[in-house]
């Protein structure tokens, strides 16, 4: 696949991917953007391994999800509140973070697997089957994660 072709495909998906990552990082725009860029470069380097019949978006999301997990493992996001505050962008992005504070706080209470399943389902609009492919879980596990995540979110929203 040529670079132009790849860019055209990514161009269609990048906003949805970045939105998902932003929610996954609970509003930490810097981390989300960093993961998004890294994932897209990784996807570009591994483009030969992309099977044409597979859905490009699902494949890209899978790479991004794994990149997010790598970041988590490397402790990239283990910052203190003060560090996070220092890196908080100003301007419209800061307003954004404030605007969606309720959502970020609510999803922040969920375990990683439930959070990912919920966000892929509600933010990115993926089906259970696609979520299973992205997260590498079984469809049954995804259904359970969604169910548990929904009840936890309902509890939080009813408070």
């Amino acid at each position: 696949m040529e670079r132009e072709q790849f860019i055209a495909l990514v161009s269609e998906e990048q906003e949805s991917l970045r939105r998902f990552l932003l929610a996954l990082c609970e509003g930490d725009r810097m981390e989300a953007e960093d993961i998004a860029q890294e994932a897209m470069v990784k996807a570009y380097i591994a483009i030969d391994r992309f099977v044409e019949r597979a859905k490009f978006a699902t494949w890209l999301f899978k790479i991004a999800y794994n990149t997010f997990l790598d970041h988590q493992r490397s402790g990239w996001n283990r910052r203190t509140d003060l560090d996070a505050a220092k890196q908080m962008p100003g301007g419209p992005n800061a307003d954004d973070a404030f605007q969606y504070q309720e959502l970020y706080e609510a999803i922040g209470t969920l375990p990683l697997k439930e959070k990912s399943a919920i966000l892929l389902f509600y933010v990115s609009g993926y089906s259970v089957k696609e979520i299973a492919k992205i997260t590498g879980s079984s469809q049954l596990a995804v259904k359970q994660q969604l169910s548990r995540g929904r009840s936890k979110l309902r509890e939080i929203l009813e408070r």
């Binding site: 939105r19 309720e102 929203l157």
Partner: protein, 126 residues
């Protein structure tokens, strides 16, 4: 009275500003160009290394084989002068020399083969 927020409401309202699309794609394009350059450089290096290993392996076999042929054709070259050997009788010294050469030849071949295999597995890991 405050209206209850449902999960669907919570996510339906989620439309954060992701900035200018063209600007983002332009930045990404530059990053991809840099990544491609790095990828090509690494691939070229791997190809060079692989070619070198193949050359070492082949030259090991060729020189080993040539050495053996020469020794078999002219055993007297390796023996001290003044010693005559009858064609059917093989001297112990000659046997030792041949054995030594075979060992050298085998070690060169095995070294080449092992390096080639390790090179291949390294490429696969990458």
């Amino acid at each position: 009275m405050k209206k209850k927020t449902t999960i669907e409401d919570l996510f339906a309202q989620y439309q954060p500003d992701m900035g200018d699309r063209n600007e983002y794609m332009e930045k990404l394009s530059k990053k991809l160009a840099a990544a491609e350059y790095a990828k090509q450089y690494r691939e070229a290096q791997t190809r060079r290394y692989r070619r070198m290993m193949v050359a070492v392996f082949i030259s090991g076999i060729v020189t080993g084989a040539l050495g053996m042929v020469l020794v078999l054709l002219h055993p007297q070259w390796l023996l001290p002068t003044g010693i005559s050997i009858e064609p059917p009788a093989i001297s112990p010294l000659f046997t030792k020399v041949i054995l030594l050469l075979i060992i050298c030849f085998m070690s060169v071949c095995i070294t080449g083969l092992v390096r080639k295999i390790s090179d291949r597995s390294e490429v696969r890991v990458r």
